[in-house]
Symmetry: C2
Subunit: 453 residues, 2 copies
């Protein structure tokens, strides 16, 4: 039994393995990787250079090598594959499922793609990969694998088992056999459990389940994830407009999609413009962070210009509360927008009207705003010993800012979603910068009004 902790990358092992690579200790490398899960070897190779990794892979079997390359992160993989000839890449793809093969080809430079596809030995695989390249990567067509097992509704169970046997090598994970009619249209499914329990002479038509959930090729990945989650599916067949069975999407790919979407959202919320990770280069990290910082800075300069313009109406004491107004506006804005982002992500079957949403947000904002304004009113008066007017200005501005920031935080992601922009962008520096400026305007506006009374 293999326990998951068995293969751990200790510093010692890593050092020893590095030495073995340098000294080309073939037998040590082969022995230590014997029986190790390809996913673990992938993690190991992330610690070495491309040339070192290539050497290690050259010692393993082609099938294992292909699995390991398949597990590499996309950006690393495209760099790594530069060390291989198109024909070598074709050999790896020959060993992989069509969807994984298509993903790899999509990452290759355009000029060698054709050569790689031509080099795929298995003609059916090559045709499948070619077909998948037609689809957008983020939709059902791009996520599906062509490898699946199907049976004609008129077949016997015995014939179906023969089909499973002949496809056994191509289809690693069989959850169910898809049932099609004479025109290859999906009409149902039979679970493997049922096939195990059935007699060979029985007909598929007598035991299959005709309630099978499927999607068409254009369905987007977010929707596929939510369907598979809702119905607890481990595989989802993909059909064309005519209902013809084209492929299937497996849950492992969707788990990756869900994780990537969460990561993408986190980066949008944090104002990071490129898909970067902590271990990317310093220059990449700087570049990914700079755009929003510059926008925030321009917002700050605009704020300064604005204050300069109202210089005569502003007293120094008034400026003491700028941090308070700005911070509250920012916090309220992010809270509001992230609640909207959350409900957009869990799209329920029945969505509320924008009007109802804003109405509710308004009431929550009124409640929060009144409580905060009351607290701040007493805080300013007693803690700071400032006059009544100042306390009133700060409290009233705070209430207005909470209301405005709530509205902005709700409306912006909804609008973005409508225009096809990822609404999580509205939970980041975008909403903060906008709210900062709005907060300043409200604050000095209220001050001007109350002082001139």
């Amino acid at each position: 039994m293999e326990s998951v902790d068995q293969f751990e990358l200790s510093k010692e092992f890593l050092d020893r393995f590095g030495e073995a690579i340098e000294a080309e200790e073939t037998s040590f490398i082969i022995e230590s990787l014997n029986g190790v899960n390809p996913a673990d070897v992938t993690a190991l190779l992330h610690e070495f250079t491309s040339t070192q990794s290539k050497y290690v892979l050259s010692l393993l079997q082609l099938e294992t090598t292909a699995e390991i390359i398949n597990g590499l992160e996309a950006d690393l993989r495209s760099k790594f594959l530069q060390n291989f000839s198109p024909l070598e890449i074709s050999k790896f793809i020959n060993e992989l499922d069509s969807d994984d093969g298509a993903d790899i080809i999509n990452e290759l430079p355009i000029k060698i793609r054709e050569e790689v596809i031509e080099g795929i030995e298995n003609q059916e695989k090559a045709a499948n990969v070619l077909e998948l390249l037609r689809y957008d990567e983020d939709c059902a067509g791009g996520l599906m694998a062509k490898e699946l097992i199907k049976a004609n509704v008129n077949w016997s169970i015995g014939k179906t088992i023969e089909e499973i046997r002949s496809q056994a090598e191509n289809v690693q994970k069989v959850y169910a056999v898809y049932v099609v009619d004479d025109f290859d249209r999906l009409v149902g499914r039979v679970s493997l459990k049922k096939i195990v329990l059935a007699e060979d002479h029985m007909k598929v038509s007598s035991i299959y389940d005709n309630e099978v959930i499927s999607v068409e090729t254009y369905k987007e990945e977010e929707e596929i994830a939510s369907i598979m989650r809702k119905y607890d599916l481990e595989a989802l067949p993909v059909v064309n407009r005519q209902g013809k069975l084209l492929g299937r999407i497996t849950i492992d790919d969707i788990v990756d999609v869900i994780t990537e979407l969460a990561e993408q959202e986190r980066q949008l919320m944090a104002g990071i413009t490129e898909d970067v990770e902590e271990d990317d280069s310093i220059w990449m990290l700087t570049r990914a962070r700079l755009p929003w910082l510059v926008i925030g800075m321009l917002g700050g300069l605009l704020g300064a210009l604005f204050m300069e313009a109202f210089e005569e109406n502003i007293t120094l004491t008034l400026t003491f509360f700028i941090p308070l107004i700005m911070a509250t506006g920012g916090n309220v804005g992010i809270q509001s927008s992230s609640l909207i982002v959350q409900s957009l992500a869990n799209k329920s079957a029945f969505t509320k009207t924008t009007y109802k949403r804003l109405w509710k947000v308004f009431w929550v904002a009124i409640l929060n705003g009144l409580l905060l304004a009351a607290l701040v009113f007493f805080g300013v008066q007693f803690l700071m010993g400032s006059g009544l007017t100042l306390a009133l200005i700060v409290a009233l501005s705070l209430l207005c800012v909470v209301l405005l920031a709530s509205f902005m935080g709700t409306a912006t992601p909804l609008l973005m979603d409508k225009f096809g922009i990822n609404p999580a962008l509205a939970s980041g520096p975008f909403i903060t910068t906008a709210n900062d400026l709005l907060g300043l305007a409200v604050y000095f506006g209220v001050a001007h009004l109350l002082y001139s009374l």
Copy 2:
């Protein structure tokens, strides 16, 4: 074939369905729900009151009803189940997998739990549920279901198929048969595909795969999610210290875990203290948002006190740039912390040392800081026509703030993670409030220094 779009909750259908409930049109309700997936009925019931839902469920078969209740959101379900007697709840649990049953019991008021467990008709199910209640909900023991199919390594395939037949009703989804020795210790697995293709007289020992990944009961859900994702597993067996097979975790539960963890992180980043959704009550939403707003407000008041204390050193013009300094500090802090949260979430096998991390963060901050400072220096001088000293003060403060905020944004989540606090908390209002105060202190400190030169 059932297409996923077939059962759509249109406003018209919802109105019609509501009327049917009021008029107790039994036949209409039964007919429209006939063949509809329980997950879809669950979504439908979210639109009606508890009493209305109870009436609808009373018209359906017990097995379907149990599935529908199982699909309800936890908070809604515990409210909904208040309308049922303990014995009625026992009947639902009798139909469900042990892990789902245990989840439901965990949500019930403590005083009726015992009665519910005693009421479960199937004695084995009751014992299984009772066993699962011992484990923490967020670890492998709490996530696993007792339902699985196992075979002794010495059995024949024929006997194994008989075991599948006898368990077929209890175990809905069979991916593989787990292979155990005479002491019930997990030694391997046989995929259903292999069983379909094997002859009845063959021995399990001759075809089973002895490389099976398993976890012990105490393993935490984050780790389980990352294991199942890494190795593309649809089910993961759970063992005790002695290696005895106790249960299995299926991927559908882990997909839910991943989604919930992402939601939790989003709420922490947005400064929302309770698990709320847009459709919770106004009061709940207010309460969930208030704590961080108050903390942010107190930070703002502290800032005001601080500025008051330095009143003599502060000129009005100086305050024009408070928004700029604060906004940049906040943005940099959130960017830094979310990168750390991201790499903590994707814990690689080999983590960098804290020292190396801070060193890299320092360089990114220097680069970003210098670029921003240069931009702002020219911006202040030419755009605003302010003096050289002021431009220098703002630029220098900005550089310091970027450096400090980067450091805080990196160190805080790392520290939190070390103390077992969710590091995403550091990407929210916490880091913003701290950075605001820090930014003010740096700004006026630099101003004091440069003006007195």
